[in-house]
């Protein structure tokens, strides 16, 4: 249930500052105090006994009473609960047992993933990565993994480019630079798969990997997961449920990396033996305790971004570079669906820059905060389920122009449609972002991937130059998702 009515309680909760509030008072997991749902659905308490139809009770004969008919339809056992049906709808299948195993397919390794010769070749994703990527939500339903024996991916030009940046950062060590890219491109051009590849490659290099699979979940207010921070102006909010989930994900995926690093700084956290912990234990603590989730995340971040001075490295372990990715980023540049009470007693939307977790990512992506040990921050736009964000569009357009004419000085006004309302707060932040445009793959790459599909038993035609050329054109010049549609779906389904 949407907590619209209960939102009026927000001012009363403003005192509920996370630092000041005694943590013991609240049970962990009691996150629904913004909602009346549980109250309304609670079983009736033993109150006044109902009359048994005696005198003075109940309606008189012949008088009409209000009768609310119950839904008498027989519930089919096969229907299942809404949750189970949603789970069925959204489940991710990574394997088709009927598909052929493709012979001679190499695994993605630290050697193959970064080699220039690998461009245009297909590699399987290592088994231990599959679980991690699944946990991070990097696999999506739209990526079409369900047709093949196991997940395998094509190393394209852009993948190699990211690998190059990773190599540079890993080699640079202290004082490494940070690469920040917003991945853009038309529908089905492989933006989220590129993020998946980047995450997988970062794991091969033993980086710390963090992924926000869907930014919409942070701002669409389908959960009441936002809590004000006292004494901030404008009022800031943190999202403890999401932070806890993210911490859990970080702890599990980066277990080996984080276990090697010890806590080096002092944090004001109500955790015992904090000084003797490694970062993995710290993250696990945050994931277990909802109220601690956000402060622990902050602490973890300070630890990860502590400078790799030689004495620190010796004592506490080396901080690896960070790969932080987010998908469908247009949702976190503007107003969220959450609401707060303004001074004139009216509900106004909370700006996404006032939500601490999104803001943390945005600051990284736009270069407001830096990574002293280097890292890569990636954000992907979406072209199928997104909200329009004029300032981001302006920035992306400028970024593209900058790529094409690096020496030219660009004026915002040239890209700004004066008839469209633009959020200055967002525009000032994103104005200098770098973009990584994804176009279609080349015909050589297309031939390779079609060959992979054919060996998987999904192509009935002979893969010849003419065939590849035809499909390449049909897919708008090698847009990979469309290419798969044109080749695989065409063959399976007689073209529909």
């Amino acid at each position: 249930m949407r907590p619209t009515t209960t939102l009026r309680r927000v001012p009363a909760l403003l005192d509920d500052c996370i630092v000041a509030r005694p943590l013991t008072l609240r049970r962990p997991g009691s996150v629904t105090y913004f909602s009346t749902t549980s109250y309304r659905y609670a079983p009736p308490t033993a109150g006044k006994k109902k009359g048994t139809g005696g005198h003075g009770e109940g309606p008189k004969k012949g008088r009409q009473t209000l009768k609310i008919k119950r839904d008498m339809r027989v519930k089919d056992a096969t229907i299942g609960t809404p949750e189970s049906r949603k789970a069925f709808r959204t489940r991710i299948i990574l394997e088709n047992t009927n598909a052929n195993t493709v012979p001679g397919l190499d695994r993605l390794t630290a050697e193959t993933a970064f080699a220039k010769e690998s461009i245009g070749k297909v590699f399987t994703i290592p088994g231990n990565h599959i679980d991690a990527l699944r946990l991070m939500g990097a696999f999506k339903r739209t990526q079409g993994w369900h047709n093949y024996k196991g997940p395998a991916t094509l190393i394209r030009q852009e993948t190699w480019y990211i690998g190059q940046r990773m190599n540079e950062i890993s080699e640079a060590g202290l004082g490494a630079e940070t690469t920040r890219k917003v991945i853009i491109g038309e529908r089905k051009s492989g933006k989220s798969v590129l993020i998946l590849q980047a995450l997988s490659m970062a794991m091969l290099r033993e980086w710390v990997v963090i992924n926000i699979p869907e930014c919409r979940e942070l701002t669409d207010a389908l959960t009441s997961d936002y809590n004000p921070v006292k004494g901030t102006d404008p009022l800031q909010f943190y999202q403890k449920q999401y932070s806890a989930t993210l911490l859990d994900q970080i702890a599990r995926v980066n277990r080996t990396v984080l276990s090697k690093i010890k806590v080096s700084q002092s944090h004001t956290l109500p955790i015992r033996n904090l000084g003797q912990m490694n970062l993995h234990q710290l993250a696990e603590h945050g994931a277990a305790e909802l109220d601690l989730a956000w402060p622990v995340f902050q602490a973890l971040w300070t630890e990860l971004t502590a400078k790799n001075d030689p004495e620190v490295v010796e004592k506490f372990g080396k901080r690896p570079p960070v790969m932080f990715c987010a998908d469908n980023i247009s949702y976190i540049f503007g107003e969220s669906k959450y609401e707060k009470l303004a001074e004139n007693d009216k509900l106004v939307p909370v700006h996404t820059f006032d939500l601490l977790l999104p803001k943390h990512y945005i600051d990284l992506l736009t270069g407001t905060t830096t990574l002293p040990n280097g890292g890569i921050i990636l954000g992907a736009t979406s072209s199928s389920h997104y909200i329009t964000c004029p300032p981001l569009d302006v920035a992306i357009e400028m970024g593209q122009e900058r790529l094409q004419y690096p020496d030219e000085k660009l004026e915002v006004n040239d890209f700004w449609n004066p008839l469209v309302k633009i959020d200055r707060r967002v525009l000032d932040q994103v104005i200098n972002i770098d973009v990584l445009p994804l176009k279609g793959i080349s015909k050589e790459e297309a031939r390779e991937i079609i060959g992979y599909w054919a060996l998987s038993g999904l192509v009935r035609d002979r893969v010849q130059d003419n065939y590849v050329g035809e499909k390449w054109t049909m897919s708008g010049g090698g847009v990979i998702g469309e290419l798969e549609k044109a080749v695989v779906r065409m063959n399976l389904n007689g073209g529909t």
Partner: protein, 313 residues
């Protein structure tokens, strides 16, 4: 007496009309009138009502030395012999055609008949002021005209040409040739296609299989694979997709209409480059202009054909 003479002369003239042409005196045309009603009235009332004076003072004596007999000199004779027939102007036309047909029968005819479109039966009737023209006569006339039209152009007499011009339709469909498109100096060929309410223009050049529709890529413009295939069908079945680049402009209608308008446009543009593919494209149905359109809504109907439900009242 006078009345008798007049009636007689009229009957005489009518009988003359069927005989072949002779010199006809140039007297003013007088409309025929009927005396039958007046004669009936006379009989009823028992007295003479109609007195007709002769137009000239006639001396009722035979002048022997005059070259023409008296009757022929004094009676009123119409301009055309067919004046007294049921369809005077058509008969004149018909006789005129027949005259030339017989006259020029000896001239050589061309081997292949001309494809001239003649005035229709209805048009001929309208031209003659709705005379009761028998269709058989009309067909006969057209047959003769067609024969005259086939005279070898070298020896074609001017009078026949004039006659044919009179009977030809102003609009000759076979004269209208579709606009011939050629490859221009940039190596482009242009094709135009329509479907539903969409129009498409496609420019084809030799290339690598790149496509732009209204400045967008194929996938950006047509989200559905079906539509993309429709648009490029002609190139697909001739295995020419990787050999040409396409620049297309489409407007009007919806996605399907635009895609299928492009099918036609691209097929036609391809034929400019490779005319020998016409047979294959025809067989595959790429050169068919689908004439179907949304049927218009009619007054009294809810949609094109749907009628409101019947209500008692």
């Amino acid at each position: 007496m006078v009345r008798y003479a007049l009636v007689h002369s009229i009957r005489n003239a009518a009988s003359l009309a069927t005989t072949p042409s002779r010199s006809i005196s140039r007297l003013p045309i007088i409309r025929p009138f009927s005396t039958s009603r007046i004669l009936a009235l006379e009989q009823q009332e028992g007295k003479q009502l109609l007195t007709i004076q002769p137009p000239l003072d006639i001396e009722y004596e035979d002048v022997e030395d005059h070259p023409k007999p008296l009757l022929e000199r004094v009676r009123i004779v119409p301009d055309s012999q067919s004046y007294f027939s049921a369809r005077p102007s058509f008969t004149d036309t018909f006789l005129g055609v027949e005259h030339l047909y017989l006259k020029w029968k000896v001239l050589p005819r061309t081997a292949t008949p001309q494809d001239t479109h003649w005035t229709s039966y209805d048009e001929v009737r309208a031209m003659t002021g709705n005379e009761p023209v028998p269709e058989k006569r009309y067909r006969e006339m057209i047959r003769m005209l067609k024969d005259l039209d086939n005279i070898e152009p070298v020896v074609m007499p001017t009078e026949v040409l004039r006659l044919i011009d009179e009977h030809k339709r102003a609009f000759q469909p076979n004269q209208v040739k579709p606009k011939v498109f050629l490859v221009d100096e940039w190596g482009r060929s242009l094709g135009v296609g329509k479907r539903k309410t969409s129009t498409a223009k496609a420019y084809l050049v030799m290339g690598e299989g790149e496509v732009l529709v209204n400045g967008k890529s194929l996938t950006e413009y047509f989200g559905r694979l079906h539509d993309r295939e429709s648009a490029l069908w002609a190139l697909k079945i001739t295995e020419r997709i990787p050999k040409y680049n396409i620049f297309a402009l489409v407007e009007g209608g919806g996605v399907t209409g635009q895609a299928e308008a492009l099918t036609l446009a691209i097929s036609r543009a391809l034929l400019v480059h490779e005319p020998q593919l016409e047979h294959r494209l025809l067989e595959a149905g790429c050169l068919f202009r689908d004439p179907r359109k949304v049927e218009r809504k009619k007054p009294g109907h809810l949609k094109a054909r749907k009628m409101p439900a019947w209500v008692r009242r």
